[in-house]
Symmetry: D2
Subunit: 344 residues, 4 copies
């Protein structure tokens, strides 16, 4: 059994990791930490009662590095960059779920986030999107899993840019996210009354996931891609529906478009291309690592609309992290993340 | 007291009309109909118990035309065009909430809907958006209230086109609607399990509200405007949030942009422009006739994002109908529709 | 116009008072306060934009007492008892929405709450349930509106005790409340993730609303009534459904039972008795001051089940407060609280 | 691999069975049927795309009986009794999820349901509640899984009756269920607008799950137990919270009470007793086979309140069915049903 540590297990991505790893056939969670340890795991998350017999410790990245084969870092950005170097101090491989190691170019990170304290690690970090970077993940010591919004946007638009089907103009990304993406902390944003029966946009043209989308879509396109990104808070728990808009370079039918998608993602277990006339729905992927994608070509306007659905906590965070761990450790890629979505 | 009839009172727009008219100081609802009459109003809608002492009759447009001062037609499209001519047979003024009389050009209607049975009425019908066509509504005999999506989209984008601020290219309209827009009939689409915790797109690039947006935005622009419209079904009851995207013709700051909006809507009681840094939320207009609008200019991409929030049943349907009736009958425009939103 | 002040306007009961008073024909809100004043009302509650042109002041009960005809105190318990004496220092009548003045017997208050700082006011305070105490409210200087749960429970069970139809044993009250009852403060209890898709009981047999139910049901019964009360947090915003259980003293049919209820509440505008075979639903009273009540007699077990539905913020708090104000000031009792429920 | 057939796979219990069996290590689903076959499984349930490569056939119980080792019957009551005899015609063991085989005494069934067409099977059928009847399930050819409400009620109250702690008077069972219990068919009851933001009681004192609770609680008590049962429809998808009330025969503290529960359920993997001061919440068991139970003794009234939480589709239906199949087939009892709840 592979020994797994989770640094920062008390948030939603930590809870989701534990949910997934509870069913993973090849791993054992041996160390879990939060700022102040001492609690039993099932006091913190009563849903996990009967599944783990673990006591949380205070953060101890060195201990985790030496006792574990793999460490997941579930800290927020800034905090992660202070922990990851120590996590890498032993033989453990590290999967970081924060934004801190997602950018190759430290300048972009520092422009959108803050000063970086461990920039020397950026060049070796691999972006944890196996559908694009599987081979690099295999040999990586440090993988940074994508942001939840970029996961949905990049996977929805990648085949278009790869096949040079759309203009160099701005890609519009209009995303609708459930509230678990806003974290476990009670705030005005997460108060039931502010979420329920309320749809709202936020962070228009200024959300930090924008440069992440631009970096990887530019990689795929082989040219600079600009993204205008509008996230929306949706009255639901889990799920991101991403609707992307781009100008087609030439006429294409929806059927041809979907063939391009099927070719691009052939063999990818977690990518499901919807048949023509159907479009993704977040509930069909809830609690799973699947990404459902659909697309429509509109001859009236010469535009393409590509839509993806993910579970923001699974494929958008902890599921991707487990998938990457599986690849890094030579396990079956789907182990622990092959459950069916929770429908109904 | 003005005598009001409601033809087709058993759906959601009928229920909403009755909710509003229950508090209207100047009108009395005297006749209400559905396909098969005979029920007491509060058997059909127990929420209205104690507020109306009315029995539903079977549809009788001629009777309504002769007994009422104003008739609201809440029938679905197709059915409405068969009723409205008879409703106009007396002295009553008519407000139709269907799509049947929204288009000046019968060809556009017939291309997107069906053959028209009362096309001769189209030239005199006024589109019931008082913020754009108040003077015409004053003298109208027949007003067709806008579709719920066009209401949000046209009001969000009108100032941009009026002031020639955006390109002639496609306007992208990404709307997120609550489920009451899908009607009272139980279907797969309205089943709780299919709605709750589920975000989905539908009718991409093919929804019938598209030509309605194009007609009125073209009117304002003085040139042909193309719209790419994607509606989404959102897990909530009421409300439409509309996010529109267009290419700016020249640099403008968000502050300047908002000044344009404030100028355009000066004096409009129901339009509320959000201050810079804030954006509309559907819950802030729930159950009211208000339209909240915000906008952001993005210098990075040269795009503008304009966002509106309405209650689809109030300003998006029955509230607009009451507002138009008030104007047609010379009443205070806000009478019966000046209630505060239901928050929290 | 009657001048109204609201002390502590920044919580949900304050917001609800303002929503209702925005449509009240006879009053003008002139002073509103919160701990730290200075904000415009529509910055605090954007939903109220365009309806009030008011700036919040810091709490100043003396000023409110002298400038207003009526003052509503929307402070939490403990804080209220420190403010109400000063509010009563002028000619203004006072409606307090907290628990501080709901008990005639200070010992009961101090057993379930805390030491009382203004116990001398208890003997003159009238419990603001007009359906039971209308005449006393008419002449009162200080009215304490009932708790949300007691409103639903007392009105559901009162006819049974008044007519000596049920045993002296324990009345079981099983209530299901929306989350707005937990207040505007972001906490673990009000986090969307903890509320949505989650039903839970809390405060079993220990909730402070228990003695309030017991006091008023004992008054009606003319003997001591014990209540076992279990509140539940329900994944919705507004509404309390209360299911009560008691042992019948003799056989009675459901039809006879409902006749008793209709007799008891004859002439009460806000009480609606459901016909046999139907039962109350919270949505049918949402946003309104109505109380829907149904009952079933079960010959198999010799028990009665009486069910009520209220909106916890309206009839359960601010609507009751406006209703009481109307009675105290000689206005139409339904003024400002006669709107139809928000359905759909 | 054990070959599994599902008769009537197109409803919610069928979907849930498939969700669970997708992760079951020892079984393979080989035949699935609905009224009219021909569809691919992932056309019917897109959430299952990539997990099953199955085509639905029209109901063929004989074929299923001969080709499968185990058959699950997911038909509604009445329809099930017409299919189960044929399903038993081969060597396959059968788990029926309907009410048709839940009663030992055909008179009770026929009093509450309808005439029985296969009453001869009742005497050999075992009630599929392993926590009470595990040994009988081991050798059974036909198991009838409990109703969703009885599962929650019986497990919550069993220790009280087993230990003779409560009176012979009526047990009150107040249950709050998510809407998936109402099935996949679109009706007024399952329309989003009728469910969302709406709490309601239904079937008061007349719900068919009442005699099922009475039969098994009487078995445990060794005397006749009467149940007054009130189900409520709650605005959520999954989960039943059951609050039960009974009169204690003697003083007992909450701590002593919980010891009784822990003793009664010692070794039961799926039963989790909450510590004193905490109570079950449906979300903590969502999507899992766990049953959380809490209890409070109230010295003021001499009553006990016992509360349970289950997922109505998992432990309340399909999870129990898989658990029973595991026992019948000599598999690990938790196989395929040991996943963590979906939290957050």
């Amino acid at each position: 059994m592979i020994k797994v540590g989770i640094l920062g297990a008390s948030g939603f991505t930590g809870a989701e990791l534990l949910r997934l790893l509870a069913s993973h056939p090849d791993v054992e969670v041996t160390v879990v930490s939060r700022r102040e340890g001492g609690q039993k795991m099932d006091e913190l998350f009563p849903s996990l009662g009967g599944l783990f017999d673990l006591e949380l410790i205070s953060h101890a990245p060195e201990r985790m590095a030496s006792e574990c084969d793999v460490a997941f870092c579930c800290m927020p950005h800034k905090a992660a960059m202070d922990m990851v170097p120590a996590l890498l101090g032993g033989d453990a491989k590290v999967v970081d779920l924060s934004a801190d190691f997602r950018f190759r170019d430290v300048k972009i990170y520092e422009e959108w986030y803050t000063a970086h304290a461990a920039a020397d690690l950026l060049s070796e970090t691999v972006y944890g999107l196996p559908e694009l970077y599987r081979e690099s993940i295999e040999g990586a010591r440090l993988v940074a899993t994508p942001g939840c919004y970029p996961t949905g946007a990049i996977l929805a638009a990648a085949p278009l840019f790869k096949n040079d089907m759309v203009d160099t103009g701005t890609l519009i990304v209009d995303s609708k996210s459930g509230v678990s993406g806003a974290g476990a902390k009670p705030t005005d944003v997460t108060h039931y009354i502010e979420v329920n029966e309320c749809m709202r946009a936020y962070g228009v043209a200024s959300h930090r996931h924008t440069p992440e989308m631009e970096e990887h879509l530019s990689n795929i396109a082989g040219r600079g891609v600009k993204v205008l990104f509008t996230p929306h808070l949706t009255p639901m728990e889990r799920g991101i529906l991403t609707t992307t808009y781009a100008k087609l370079r030439k006429d294409v039918s929806t059927a041809e478009l979907l063939d391009v998608y099927r070719d691009f993602y052939r063999g990818e277990h977690f990518i499901r291309i919807r048949p023509e006339g159907d479009l993704p729905r977040t509930k069909r992927v809830r609690g799973s690592n699947f990404v459902d994608i659909g697309a429509v070509a509109d001859p009236r306007t010469g535009m393409v609309v590509a839509v993806s659905a993910i579970d923001n906590l699974t494929k958008g965070a902890s599921g991707a992290a487990v998938q990457c761990m599986n690849i890094m450790m030579g396990l079956e890629e789907t182990a622990g993340v092959d459950m069916a979505p929770l429908y109904p």
